[in-house]
């Protein structure tokens, strides 16, 4: 058997039972590698459940800095007998299976092409600890200690991390270090350490940070000046508001009175949540809600109101696998069309697509400026993979000289100088009109906000020409919006080429890696990451300049491709789909394989026909 050998380049997957405290131990492992200067990308693969079901934690380590899912697993650390059969099957030939051998391995599971390493975790815990809860918690820490020996992790980095982690709860530091040592010692005494796969300190992370997108987004809302958050709990968006609240408690308490400079309302449902955001924004506060697919569906009617009545609205949608309840704890990018055209009648909404925690923070804060400047809903589409996993990211920054753009709002003094005020009068020619906050002026500026048709003075009308004029102005505003939303990011291939890839959001890391692989194989591809809808001119030009564009996305129906075709009228032949929708983040290997299948000369079966013929089949 040929054992896998590598330094700083592997995938390890922890197979745990949820509710057993494994998350913090696994996190300790990933963070230790990060502190050794290694790019890591940990991903939780967890059930919609609180206790007792299988949960996994996959960590990709890549000195080259590839942070997408690679596909395949080199090492499994298994402490969950429930999923053991499946876990063993998943290991790449030559890989390693590390498990709790207190109970001997079922002979039927043995594979001859992998290395099996047994750690008597339960036995050690039973000998060392009396308390059942401690036995369970320390079991996790012990295997991290053992991995430190097996993979040659700097032990001091681990102990320093433990000290940081339990700052303020110093009593817990020593017992945790002790548990790490137990595992470390056992592995050293019983195996040749390190095994074929190992780590070595490097400096490949610079000043980067490890942070989940939802926390970054919650912080973005703080920095963006949000004072009202209205929401309904839903995975995977809940931690956005949790983070907002955590930091608000820290920085938004009035020093004089001790009272809160923010209000968080947990609504009765998503309809109420978005209604509250609209009410607060109408009244001059910066407000937001965070939700996921099912919530977005419920919010549709109100989004139409905000579009038509032109009320700033900020909505963060952390996408998960749909339709319906779908797979609530798995990732997808499948709300694109539902968000872009949410609500009945002719509506279109601004979408932002962040791909890193830094962008979650930046776009999160910018959403409030955009919403107030453009007086329309801003829907940010992030996803579970970005939102709930620690992602390596550029550090967060705030330019202290920056000022909020509160948009076109008339003050009492402005109104005093005006002869008349028309809420929906386009006096600047950019299709964005002036608004007033309730209570602004005793005599002037009051108007009636409504979802029904009205004239430029906000007075109800059923005249077709007035209605049409207003709808055309909204379309003209759509053009103005293109100047404000983030431009795409374009990365040109080293070789000239007429082929390109186009992607958005969390597909970025895997797409970039796949483009590198393909370049090595002689397939040159330009790349564009779309960061917003409406699409700017650059998006159209880029597609125009290429013969063939592979649109990579994480949904079944090629939703971004549909949006591109709807907005630009490109023919279907030009845009080829590369898709992944099994609920796991798309991998570089998958993208490479699908692009190769599409290349001229290869025998290409369009995806939809293949799916019909074979079922989804093997595409990962």
């Amino acid at each position: 058997m040929k054992r896998l050998k590598s330094v700083n380049d592997f995938v390890i997957k922890f197979a745990n039972v949820n509710g057993t405290g494994s998350a913090s131990a696994n996190n300790l492992f990933a963070k230790a590698l990060f502190r050794m200067g290694l790019p890591v990308s940990p991903k939780n693969i967890f059930p919609s459940n609180i206790q007792g079901l299988p949960t996994w934690y996959e960590v990709r380590v890549s000195e080259k800095g590839y942070l997408g899912r690679r596909g395949g697993v080199d090492i499994i650390l298994s402490v969950n007998p429930q999923s053991m059969a499946q876990d063993i099957r998943e290991i790449e030939p030559g890989g390693y299976f590390i498990y709790d051998n207190t109970k001997p391995l079922d002979l039927r599971l043995v594979r001859n092409d992998i290395t099996v390493i047994g750690l008597p975790l339960t036995r050690i815990c039973n000998e060392k600890y009396q308390d059942p809860r401690q036995r369970q918690l320390f079991k996790n820490v012990i295997y991290v200690g053992a991995l430190a020996a097996l993979l040659d992790i700097d032990f001091k980095v681990l102990t320093d991390l433990v000290a940081d982690q339990f700052k303020g709860k110093e009593k817990l530091i020593l017992p945790n270090i002790k548990a790490l040592e137990l595992g470390h010692q056992y592995a050293k005494d019983n195996f040749d350490c390190p095994i074929g796969i190992r780590v070595k300190s490097v400096d490949k992370v610079g000043d980067k940070i490890l942070l989940d997108g939802n926390t970054a987004l919650g912080l973005g809302a703080i920095y963006g000046g949000a004072t009202v958050a209205a929401w309904y709990p839903i995975t995977p968006s809940t931690s956005v508001v949790d983070a907002f609240e955590k930091y608000a408690r820290r920085v938004r308490i009035d020093p004089g009175t001790g009272r809160r400079n923010y209000a968080i309302v947990q609504a009765e449902d998503e309809l109420a949540a978005i209604g509250m955001v609209i009410g607060a924004s109408w009244n001059g506060a910066r407000a937001f809600t965070a939700t996921s697919g099912p919530g977005l569906s419920l919010m549709s009617e109100f989004l139409g109101l905000a579009y038509f009545a032109e009320i700033p609205t900020v909505l963060f949608d952390v996408q998960r696998a749909g339709p319906s309840t779908g797979m609530p704890t798995r990732t997808q990018q499948s709300d694109v069309l539902a968000a872009a055209y949410a609500s009945h009648g002719d509506t279109k909404h601004v979408l932002l697509f962040p791909s890193t925690p830094k962008e979650c923070f930046d776009f999160g804060a910018a959403s409030f400026d955009l919403a107030e400047r453009l007086q329309t809903p801003i829907i940010m589409l992030t996803d579970l993979d970005l939102g709930m996993n620690d992602n390596m990211s550029e550090p967060l920054e705030w330019d202290d000289s920056r000022e909020y753009d509160r948009g076109k709002v008339l003050s009492e003094a402005d109104l005093d100088e005006m002869e008349s005020f028309g809420r929906y009068l386009d006096s600047d020619g950019d299709a964005i009109c002036y608004r007033t906050y309730p209570g602004a002026h005793p005599e002037k500026g009051a108007f009636f906000t409504r979802g029904s048709s009205r004239d430029e003075q906000a007075v109800y009308t059923e005249k077709g020409e007035e209605y049409e004029r207003n709808m055309l102005r909204l379309l003209q505003k759509w053009d103005t919006i293109k100047e404000y939303v983030p431009a795409p990011e374009i990365i040109a291939s080293k070789e000239p080429t007429d082929m390109a890839v186009l992607y958005f959001g969390t597909t970025e890391a895997s797409a970039r890696e796949a483009v590198d692989y393909l370049a090595q194989e002689g397939v040159a591809l330009d790349a564009m990451r779309v960061r917003a809808f409406p699409f700017n001119q650059e998006v159209e030009d880029f597609i125009d300049e290429h013969e063939r564009v592979f649109v990579i996305e994480q949904n079944r129906d090629a939703q971004l491709r549909t949006l591109l075709m709807a907005e630009f009228e490109f023919g279907p032949d030009k845009l080829k789909s590369v898709l992944c929708f099994d609920g796991t983040p798309i991998s570089a290997r998958n993208i490479r394989k699908q692009i190769l299948e599409h290349l001229p000369g290869n025998n290409v079966t369009p995806l939809h026909r293949k799916v019909r013929a074979n079922g989804v089949g093997e595409r990962a």
Partner: protein, 350 residues
């Protein structure tokens, strides 16, 4: 369409403490059917706001969808208004109230907008005790879609088409009591002497104040077989008692009659005097209020007047401990912690 009321007024019209005549509180001409109960309620709202000397622009009027929800166009033309979506006015008011605690929030809804499509938001805005006045113009039917029964139509009642309603009615006052409302009143659009003081009291209450106003639909539900007709309500209204509302600024002695059973000082310093007619009701006891509602319903009567008042009401801002200054007036330097904090956060994430 909206039609403006002519601006000409009699020069000697009385002015309030702010120097405004009643005209400053009026809106456009109503386009509802002649004789609609809703117009009487609009009139009562105009008079109440005028007499209370509330600055018109310090009121925000919000509604859902339906005949009732159209009325905010017909009063308080100097106030911002918001005609939102069907059944969702409470959430919009909640957001607005969070943004600026200094305005007076007047929500206008109907029985369809509240008891059917909006039942969930109605229940939850009560539960949160949002500081607002919630007026239901309750006619037991859907007017704009031509007379279907609503969820507050009484079992056995029949409208213009003659079909007898087979379903139990939702009693909004009973529901509000159950959900924890801190001010519950019912009135009749045809009884302005009762309605106006109730509106004033509701506006002085800190917390959620419901006024369920039976407001006959002259077009679809004013038939002899309807229990929401002018005639039926006049014959069957059983008032809890009468209410005198004495604004904070007024001398208590002048207009008040003797014999008040209770005198309540409201949050803003005004005084509410209650004269009892239903002697089994203690309006400060939720169980007693519930019992009185059910007793009168059992007798085939409609209990009107102030039904319940919680004198120790704490509104949502109290519960959330929000800043005394409106959140929409906070400045950028109070909201944004600046780059220095990010430097520390970054350091903790390495």
């Amino acid at each position: 369409m909206s039609y403006q009321i002519p601006k000409f007024r009699h020069p000697d019209l009385p002015v309030n403490d702010l120097g405004y005549t009643k005209a400053a509180y009026e809106g456009s001409i109503s386009t509802l059917c002649a004789g609609c109960g809703h117009d009487s309620i609009s009139g009562a709202l105009v008079r109440a706001c005028h007499e209370l000397s509330i600055e018109p622009h310090k009121i925000a009027k919000l509604s859902g969808i339906g005949c009732s929800s159209k009325t905010p166009t017909y009063f308080l033309g100097k106030s911002h208004g918001f005609n939102s979506v069907h059944g969702r006015m409470p959430s919009v008011v909640t957001g607005a109230a969070m943004a600026n605690r200094d305005l007076l929030y007047l929500g206008v809804s109907g029985d369809g907008d509240t008891a059917s499509i909006g039942m969930g938001q109605f229940a939850h805005v009560i539960r949160r005790n949002l500081n607002m006045v919630y007026v239901v113009m309750n006619n037991g039917c859907y007017g704009l879609t031509k007379g279907q029964d609503s969820a507050t139509a009484d079992e056995g009642s029949a409208g213009k088409k003659g079909d007898v309603n087979p379903f139990n009615a939702i009693d909004l006052c009973g529901t509000a009591l159950q959900m924890g409302a801190t001010f519950v009143a019912r009135s009749f659009s045809g009884d302005k002497d009762q309605l106006e003081p109730l509106i004033k009291a509701a506006m002085s209450h800190r917390g959620f104040a419901l006024i369920d106003v039976i407001s006959p639909c002259v077009t679809f539900n004013n038939t002899p077989a309807s229990t929401k007709s002018y005639e039926f309500v006049r014959d069957h209204a059983e008032a809890t008692g009468t209410v005198d509302f004495v604004p904070m600024r007024q001398e208590i002695t002048t207009s008040s009659r003797p014999g008040a059973a209770h005198e309540v000082t409201m949050h803003d310093g005004s005084v509410l005097r209650l004269y009892e007619d239903v002697d089994t009701l203690n309006p400060f006891d939720r169980r007693s209020a519930m019992m009185a509602l059910m007793d009168q319903q059992h007798e085939g009567n409609i209990l009107t007047g102030l039904i319940y008042l919680d004198k120790s009401s704490r509104d949502l801002h109290d519960v959330l401990e929000t800043s005394h200054r409106p959140l929409n007036q906070l400045e950028e330097d109070e909201l944004c912690p600046g780059n220095k904090m990010l430097v520390n956060i970054n350091a903790s994430l390495r």
